[in-house]
Amino acid sequence: MIFWQLFIAFLEVGALAFGGGYAALPLIENVVVNQYRWLTLKEMTDVIALSQVTPGPIALNAATFVGTRVAGIPGAIVASTAAVLPQTVFLLFLGWFLFHGGRITWINRALRGLRPGVTGLIGVAAISMLLSSLFITRSPITIDWVAAVAFLLVFVLHFKKIDLFKLIMLGAGIGLMGGLVEHLAGF
């Protein structure tokens, strides 16, 4: 039963994540955090951050992480397979056609609606990740100042076209220094 749920959940992520990169993020948040509650938003934010400093695409990393938590290594295998199944079937069926100069016009048309819309959806996911990382509790509002410093510094440094890996590692470094300060100050 739990394997079937994992399979269906990540089949949906794999089938609808058009546009590459962060396109899977709103789907993962919806299925994993809101629908099945396999991860909290904070844990998902951790997984996305770790995803940037480990090999592999976000959708596969999330599938493996969630699969392992819910049903061990077999769960990870089921979830990862489900995540790549739609694109594998699609490209195997259409590969020959596509290689011979075929163009699937309806997909290009769909993408023209999907690209801007998915950007809007990722915007919402980015905002909810930002809120969950910056605020420890909502009432009374308590700001995680370590995350806030990391956010501001990385936001500014990102304009300088620094490698993503280094930016996330910088975040980890700021976190450790902040931890040291809290430790010494005896919070």
Partner: protein, 183 residues
């Protein structure tokens, strides 16, 4: 190139390419175009463009189509398996470390900083993605972007349904309205 050599080439690339999205593209190009000379640059760009017709991670589509081009259907399947194995192994190990150490003060502090950093990276990514969308059919794209943003923010409508609606809107608009009439 034998099937095994192909499998290990993709496996290696997938193990050393950090982050998602297009990061794998230059690495695959380096291996198959520059080092081994099995594909022309032109063919490589075609593969990447074709991969975008499919949903799912770009890394997996590119590995599949490279395998298909070089070794047929068996190559395609092997490409997918080689692309998903490294993250499967690495992240499941990382999962157990996370469960063991996330409550540790120092690891927790590092994760707090990292989650602040990834939030900043995400905001930049949204801006970077929005810009090219708004170059052509500016009003159409801006309307869909705003509609999707507000629907997702304010209602509890399933994200999958919003995505399907977006795709259908794109198909209907560009099928029934002449392109130069879409604002």
């Amino acid at each position: 190139m034998t099937l095994w050599q192909f499998f290990f080439a993709i496996f290696k690339i997938s193990s050393i390419t950090f982050g998602g999205g297009y990061t794998i593209v230059p690495v695959i190009r380096e291996e198959f175009v520059c080092k081994r000379g099995l594909l022309e640059d032109e063919e490589m760009y075609d593969l990447i463009a074709l991969g975008q017709s499919a949903p799912g991670p770009i890394a997996v589509s590119t590995a599949l189509l490279t395998g298909y081009k070089l070794k047929g259907r068996t190559g395609a399947i092997l490409g997918v398996v080689a692309a998903i194995l490294p993250p499967l192994i690495i992240i499941s190990v990382l999962f157990y470390m996370y469960e063991a150490f996330a409550s540790n003060f120092w690891v927790g502090a590092a994760l707090r900083g990292m989650s602040g950093a990834i939030s900043a990276v995400m905001l930049h990514a949204v801006y970077r993605m929005a810009k090219p969308c708004l170059c052509r059919h500016r009003i159409f794209s801006a309307a869909l972007m705003t509609a999707a943003f507000l629907t997702s923010l304010l209602t509890s409508i399933h994200t999958g349904l919003i995505i399907l609606a977006l795709g259908i809107t794109g198909i209907l608009a560009f099928t029934f309205i002449p392109e130069d009439r879409i604002p």
